[in-house]
């Protein structure tokens, strides 16, 4: 008998006399804030992101290239990884910063990315109650390695279309077959005396741009 069959048999034997448990009742909240007040939901996202040490910026579409250029300059970045599908206009004003594009024909290695200062991406959606960005490796986000190895991640959120209030609102909008990365503030650890330190292995600086 294979271990697979043995384990399944043992499970069935263990449960032979077990009663049927009560059905699942989902009477918890769909959200903890009024979901129709979109401005308040975006404010909550901003507040929760900042609470976990992300740097939050707000701008309009025309202001975006200037803001991104400034964020890269402020970080002292000389190179920026560019995922496929990132709107070309976003980095139009980042003068003097080397663009390091990732594409299927010539994928960047982790070693190469280790020498890149920053990465700019969009996201799939953002969750206000938990201050979470979700990336699904779609257009403008790229492979997971892009937002992992460089030490500075700038993530742009389209607040009109990409912000939800809560987890119960977020999950139906995500495709589980895609690789998903949930990001709630920069890399952190509390492993030393439970003292929170930002920045271990992931990007130590997380800039979030809330695009109006």
């Amino acid at each position: 008998m294979t271990s697979r069959d043995a384990i399944l048999d043992r499970i069935r034997a263990a449960l032979a006399a077990a009663p049927e448990p009560e059905p699942v009742v989902r009477d918890y909240r769909v959200a903890h804030v009024p979901v129709d007040d979109h401005a308040a939901v975006v404010d909550l996202l901003a507040g929760n992101l900042a609470d976990y040490r992300a740097h939050v910026h707000r701008c309009t579409e025309p202001e975006l290239p200037g803001l991104l250029a400034r964020l890269l300059a402020d970080h002292g970045s000389r190179s920026v990884a560019v995922p496929p599908g990132l709107p070309a206009s976003w980095l139009a004003q980042a003068d003097g910063v080397e663009r390091v594009p990732d594409d299927a024909e010539a994928p960047l290695t982790a070693q190469r990315l280790d020498g890149v200062d920053s990465v700019v991406t969009g996201c799939r959606l953002a969750i206000a109650e938990t201050g979470t960005l979700v990336l699904d490796a779609g257009p403008g986000q790229g492979r997971r390695v892009l937002t992992l190895v460089p030490d500075h991640h700038v993530c742009v959120v389209d607040t009109a279309r990409q912000v939800v209030a809560s987890l119960p609102q977020a999950l139906p909008r995500l495709d589980p077959t895609r690789p998903l990365t949930w990001i709630s503030g920069p890399s952190a650890t509390s492993d030393i005396e439970l003292d929170r330190v930002e920045g271990v292995h992931g990007p130590r600086t997380l800039d979030v741009v809330l695009l109006a």
Binding site: T130, T181, T189
Partner: protein, 505 residues
């Protein structure tokens, strides 16, 4: 479990040694008090916590009741998404499967994401015997590994080490494992984290094989979920070409939607955060298969039994399989705070360890027989448990089992554990204070669910503190050998109807 724990002394002896270590106690006390206050605030933000907890409990109970169905569904989905599923009946088989998978890649080292399941099976030691070096990449696990130490907390395995000790370990040991600690390393946590970043980065960048566990597996989609903070998980799950995940069979959840419950309460219960910094979810090899260049080109899932089906067969004990390893119960436990994690003799310390380890391993050894007695039954663990595991109920049940065992080793273990508790009045007083605060939360009848059937046929186990104390007083009046020789040894905590006024709300 891990061979590293073989030969550990029974709880009372190990606890005695731990309580004499003033630095350990100070470290533990500071850490557990900090986190428990933060947890209370994070939980307080959600006014529907009770509804989430009830939903989480019922989801887990439904899953366990139909575990075979969900595992088969999971296997089908993972396989159709390009992954390979292996089944391991015990630790030896799981270790053998992983070692063979690593050997097939031709590699001699792996990077590891912190995983309770791989600690439970002693994977690192087994890989070492197979000539494979496993590098732990979680900061606390790194501290433990470099220090040739054992983890003492589920979430913060190096909780027993303070910053000065960690600095010394880094300075003395990092060079043996790879990049040495930076010159002039201080004991500032930020500098220590930077040293770990530098030390591990070269390992991440060259690693070809990673080993992980998983917090959740979704049956309907075949998705695995790893929740973490530092980014070491993302590194291991993203960069290597081969990913091997070893996961206990009880970690499956039926639906994608179920994550909306568990991802709300796991981070709040565990690190006291609204959400942990990073969560990675992947389904097999992803939509592009091995060709999309995003993540590993080969994915193996090793489903681990190792005592879980035995636990499932116990109608009271099976609720322990709801556990999501958040460690909230450790941080509120007066006994854990004083005894430390090592006293529990397994990777699962604290209240959850006292009910999980004896079920996974049995109560044949003295340490495992003593574990159900490593508690004052104050109930604080049950109160904070996000999936409502009635740990005191299971403790009482396991005490019955130990007491019914032939031979006297178990009884001696119980006596010593009880004596330890009563020699530490602070632990007991803290327990009693907590008990008085939490008794109102204890249900008058047993919680609903699988235990419901049990209550129909039996009386409630009696509630905290008083019966245990009575038992101890009775035994203190006689020499420990007396009950054995007269054949009147009673289970220390035979279920009885609650009789003390304070035991009912």
């Amino acid at each position: 479990m891990s061979s590293a724990y073989l030969g550990m002394p029974a709880f009372p002896q190990a606890a005695k040694a731990a309580t004499q270590d003033a630095r350990l106690r100070a470290n533990l006390r500071r850490a557990t008090h900090t986190i428990r206050d933060k947890r209370a605030r994070a939980v307080g933000e959600l006014d529907d916590w009770a509804a989430l907890r009830e939903a989480g409990r019922r989801i887990k109970d439904q899953t366990l009741r139909h575990l075979d169905v969900y595992l088969l569904q999971l296997e089908e989905r993972v396989t159709s998404a390009g992954g390979t599923v292996h089944w391991a009946a015990d630790a030896a088989e799981a270790n053998r499967i992983v070692a063979e998978l690593v050997r097939a890649t031709g590699e001699s080292e792996v990077v590891k994401v912190k995983s309770m399941a791989t600690q439970e099976i002693g994977l690192n030691e087994a890989l070492a015997e197979a000539g494979v070096t496993a590098y732990e990449t979680d900061l606390a696990e790194l501290i433990v590994q470099l220090g040739d130490d054992l983890p003492s907390h589920i979430l913060v395995p190096a909780i027993h080490r303070n910053r000065g000790e960690i600095r010394d370990i880094f300075v003395e040991r990092m060079a043996r494992w790879g990049r040495p600690a930076p010159e002039g390393l201080t004991d500032r946590p930020a500098d220590l984290a930077e040293a770990a970043r530098l030390h591990l980065r070269e390992k991440f960048l060259r690693a070809k094989v990673a080993v992980s566990g998983a917090n959740f597996m979704i049956a309907e989609t075949g998705t695995l979920v790893v929740v973490e903070s530092e980014g070491n998980g993302r590194m291991c799950l993203t960069l290597p070409q081969t990913l091997i995940s070893v996961v206990g069979i009880e970690k499956v959840l039926p639906t994608w939607q179920d994550l909306e419950v568990f991802l709300q309460f796991l981070p709040r219960s565990s690190t006291a955060e609204r959400m942990n910094p990073y969560t990675t979810m992947w389904t097999g090899l992803g939509p592009g298969g091995a060709a999309d260049g995003d993540g590993p080109r080969a994915f193996h899932l090793v489903l681990l039994d190792n005592g879980r089906t035995d636990t499932l067969a116990d109608e009271i004990g099976r609720q322990v399989l709801r556990c999501i390893r958040c460690s909230a119960c450790l941080n509120v436990c007066p006994v854990y705070e004083r005894a430390g994690g090592h006293a529990y003799g397994s990777p699962y310390p604290g209240p959850i360890g006292a009910v999980l380890t004896p079920q996974l391993r049995g109560t044949g050894s003295e340490v495992d027989a003593s574990l159900p007695f490593a508690s004052s039954l104050c109930g604080a663990c049950y109160e904070v448990c996000p999936v409502a595991i009635d740990i005191p109920e299971v403790l009482v049940h396991l005490r019955e089992q130990v007491a019914a065992q032939p031979g006297h080793a178990a009884e001696r273990a119980a006596m010593r554990a009880a004596t330890w508790l009563f020699e530490h009045p602070a632990a007991l007083a803290a327990a009693e204070r907590t008990a008085s605060a939490t008794r109102a939360l204890h249900p008058r009848t047993l919680p609903l669910g699988p235990a419901g059937a049990w209550t129909q046929a039996r009386d409630l186990p009696r509630l905290p503190a008083e019966p245990f104390r009575t038992w101890w007083k009775r035994h203190r009046a006689e020499p420990p050998a007396a009950p054995q020789s007269t054949g009147t040894s009673q289970p220390p905590t035979t279920p009885q109807p609650p009789t003390t006024p304070e035991s009912t709300p």
